[in-house]
Symmetry: C2
Subunit: 365 residues, 2 copies
Amino acid sequence: MTSRKLLLLPGDGIGPEAMAEVRKLIAVMNADMNAGFETEEGLVGGCAYDTHGASISDADMDKAMAADAVLFGAVGGPKWDGVPYEVRPEAGLLRLRKEMELFANLRPAICYPALASSSSLKPDVVEGLDILILRELTGGVYFGEPKEIIDLGNGQKRGIDTQVYDTFEIERISGVAFELARTRRNKVCSMEKRNVMKSGVLWNEVVTATHKAKYSDVELTHMLADAGGMQLVRWPKQFDVIVTDNLFGDMLSDVAAMLTGSLGMLPSASLGAPDAKTGSRKALYEPVHGSAPDIAGQGIANPIAMIASFAMCLRYSFNMVAEADRLEAAISSVLDDGLRTKDIMSDGMTEVGTVAMGDAIVEKF
Amino acid sequence: MTSRKLLLLPGDGIGPEAMAEVRKLIAVMNADMNAGFETEEGLVGGCAYDTHGASISDADMDKAMAADAVLFGAVGGPKWDGVPYEVRPEAGLLRLRKEMELFANLRPAICYPALASSSSLKPDVVEGLDILILRELTGGVYFGEPKEIIDLGNGQKRGIDTQVYDTFEIERISGVAFELARTRRNKVCSMEKRNVMKSGVLWNEVVTATHKAKYSDVELTHMLADAGGMQLVRWPKQFDVIVTDNLFGDMLSDVAAMLTGSLGMLPSASLGAPDAKTGSRKALYEPVHGSAPDIAGQGIANPIAMIASFAMCLRYSFNMVAEADRLEAAISSVLDDGLRTKDIMSDGMTEVGTVAMGDAIVEKF
Ligand SMILES: CC(C)[C@H](C(=O)O)[C@@H](O)C(=O)O
Ligand SMILES: CC(C)[C@H](C(=O)O)[C@@H](O)C(=O)O
């Protein structure tokens, strides 16, 4: 029997509640399908700080490095607003991304048909929307040095962050973009601010060269990132795959997620490079939403983004395509049946809690 | 008679066509109201490069420094895509902002009632929208050094940009935010990425301290910039004044502009610090839209953003509040009459060109 090693990092806030629903799916797949998942558990974020004084312990980092895939809930909350910068909850997530070299962050923005009317955008603008934001995740201003606050004296301080991109980083993320586009509608739009940033000039140059060298069958366009934000709001269906840097990707994927009316529903996958020998790649899967401390512990959180992240895990880490399809269909189906958690509730639908939503999806699966 | 010195920099693309409509207003105000505007003209952007080999000449920079206010059209176009980075069209605009020390960029996002239905957002989300994005304009990643591309050898290059903010820069922009909020709905939301950027940590700290020291009567909230982008799309009316850095302001103001359905209609003001003796401040006024090279020269561009920028100029540079109010009312009124340029045309309205739209506004004024 295959063994499939999963590390579960539920994190803070609603993370643990959402992760509990995925555990049910894992149990069912092990029992009924001999899926052979072996799970370990770890701490990340504020709860790791409370226990270890670090936002992720070295031992849990080791587990992450050894796992076939990591499932990540969410981190942070007001409780940890005052902790030192180096050990803030987010640092745990950033360490995972950096040390596992998860440079490719896939953020699909899809509009579930049942939810088209709950977007703040007009239904015809978002109905049927299916775009993919591919965000570079281990470079740029998130990790560049110097990154510091200097005391200049006289009550003046200077805050510095450094945006850095090397050719090879842009090359590998654009390669992923073109490969993904080939499995979709064959279009890539690259976004940067080459009119203001030197890293944007290089980004544009390398994406163009990579396209020319290996992927000229894919349609490539370029857009300034500010114009890209506008176009996402104006007519998002013009896009297929959007490839962009770490910081622009952070902003643009959040805007894109909100368009769909399905924010609490959207998953993401963060992938490393395939191993030269085995072809397997390090991977972490997490919901796009945050830890939502305001509703944590009430049993009302929407577990769908976490469950959909597990579906991405089946697809990308274990090549269990049929199972991933079935799980995604199960999600659509409970929505079609009118089940809604509080965040997506609307007239005439049936409001259910986290556990009932999870159970309904397991049932359909 | 007062003399009021204006420098007109129409720039490229539709800039000159839009500026021509403002010239009519200036002529009318001089003739009928003794307004005493003295205008000079200059080149900026691609046209300046074609003439002088620079995106703005030193002579025109001198005129800008000497003027009471600068009216700026738009710069750029495919014609100049290949010119060296240092003399690209945008460099002229950036030089004006930096040398005139125009640190405060006011970008109102208002939804003209007549256009509420032309937004891609649902009418109830944007109807009556009136928010102000205040963008820091002379700091951050736009100007920080190092900003360069280094050749690393082996076919590898490194693109570097530096985000830098000093205490005094954050202090002065937040002061402007709080002052503006007092004339509006008394709320400021500050946006940064303090969970990832040290400049964000400092930004948050200084805004909070400035608030505490001098503006505690104003309501202050903080939001991460990515969440801010989401919230702008979800429910923009929750905001009054948003204060943010140069790059986030670039992105967020474009998203906000697109929400209103009035992108071709939105003006902006870029202001320096008031002179200690005279109280007057350097200022530049420009539309939020770009040079739209695809429609340049056809007489179909919407001149309203340029005219509304002139209204902001009357208000902020010349304290001609009544005239500014009247000009803004004239714009609303022609829209209520059903006049539309092509970009905002909809069923049952009357399509007009740039000149006819300008004439109609002059007429109502
Ligand atoms: C939590 C935070 C560090 C993170 C980021 O900025 O990358 C989050 O916003 C995201 O998009 O995953
Ligand atoms: C033209 C460009 C340099 C400029 C900017 O990025 O600031 C523009 O996008 C703006 O928002 O005024």
